[in-house]
Symmetry: C2
Subunit: 228 residues, 2 copies
């Protein structure tokens, strides 16, 4: 009963799920659903996920969508996933839920608003929208500032003060990485003020490499393709 | 070690948490944080929740914010909470996570956008914004349509096909109830097309009464106060 992951690596939550599988030795089949070609809107994919979004998984007869729910399912169902990803301890686990819930209404809205209204707009046949980009940058900065001053206080290596990452670190860092698409200059301008955030991204990358770099290659490739 | 719930009943996720406590016989102390008076922005409350949002709980030395994380913590930590609220079964539990995650980026944005830009605007010293209200109505309708056609397909009484509600039913229904603030005419216009959603709201109300009606009294009281 091999796990099927419906994926387009351009999607940041897709990358989080695939990195999680790779790091934890979970065998999976990656089924490409090309977002730019609107394959997520087809009747075939709607049978997998009626919400027409990526990622989605099928495991035997069990279907699931929403990346946080998928990460929790994988951590809970596959033997051999280390406890630090999604601890059994109810207090630690609750803190992870809290970060992930906060992520939805805060950080997540930053990178997606920035890239969809700038570099990715032509890919998805949308107009450029500098006002929306500015709004996205404000959301991103506010969220990074909260992460820096609250969750990464005391120079913790990861969000919850442990020495190894949880699914919350992976999810949030993959979302921030999407900002790489707008180029190094803007990345440095937007991330520059947040030294602890930068170190935390590096810690999460190191803890999940070589898979982290492998999965993020798509950003560099797309950026080069769009520039040519 | 009595649970402290930081609350303003005007907030829909606050109501979900308090109804959950009442229905499950969880003893709690309700500590009012008046949103209209900006008490959630004070240094005192920032010590409880640095994100300055409601609800938040303190249980002994353990602090937690984000209503979904709180509901899961309460269901996991307090003896006597029936399994249907947050089942031990990994498949059922994963479906609940999936609904709750989807809720963040979809349904939740509808009611809050509608009421904050119409009836609640004067309370929070914000201008009325009919364009934002229209956008909120679109988000709400799209979300209700998905709930009606997917989760409530086959005339299930609750979202996950069980005969008793989960924390997902409670969270989503409390959010929709906020639309009552704009009045019966608009409620009927917005909810009218979704017969299964209406029945599901009624099922959730019946399964949690008298606490459901008690907690929602605040909506009628505020509406009358604003009209006078």
């Amino acid at each position: 009963m091999k796990l099927k992951v419906y994926a387009d690596r351009l999607s940041q939550p897709v990358r989080a799920v695939i990195i999680f599988c790779e790091v934890n030795g979970i065998e999976y089949e990656e089924i490409k659903v090309d977002l730019a070609n609107r394959e997520h809107l087809t009747p075939e994919f709607s049978e997998i996920n009626p919400m027409q979004q990526l990622p989605a998984i099928v495991h035997g007869t069990f279907k699931l969508f929403e990346s946080h729910a998928i990460l929790i399912y994988l951590a809970s169902s596959f033997p051999g996933v280390a406890d630090h990803w999604y601890p059994d301890d109810v207090y630690k686990r609750s803190k992870i839920h809290s970060v992930l819930d906060w992520h939805h209404s805060n950080l997540r809205r930053g990178p997606i608003t920035i890239v969809q209204n700038s570099i990715l707009a032509p890919v998805f046949r949308r107009p450029l929208n500098p006002e929306a980009v500015a709004e996205g940058e404000k959301i991103l900065s506010a969220a990074l500032s909260k992460i820096e001053s609250f969750w990464l206080d005391d120079n913790r290596p990861f969000l919850l003060g442990e020495n190894q990452p949880s699914i919350a670190d992976l999810s949030l860092v993959c979302d921030i990485m999407q900002v790489k698409l707008v180029g190094e200059t803007d990345w440095n301008r937007l991330l520059g003020p947040y030294k602890k955030v930068q170190q935390w991204i590096e810690n999460t990358r190191n803890a999940t490499n070589p898979h982290f770099d492998e999965l993020h290659k798509v950003l560099k490739e797309l950026k080069e393709k769009l520039q040519n």
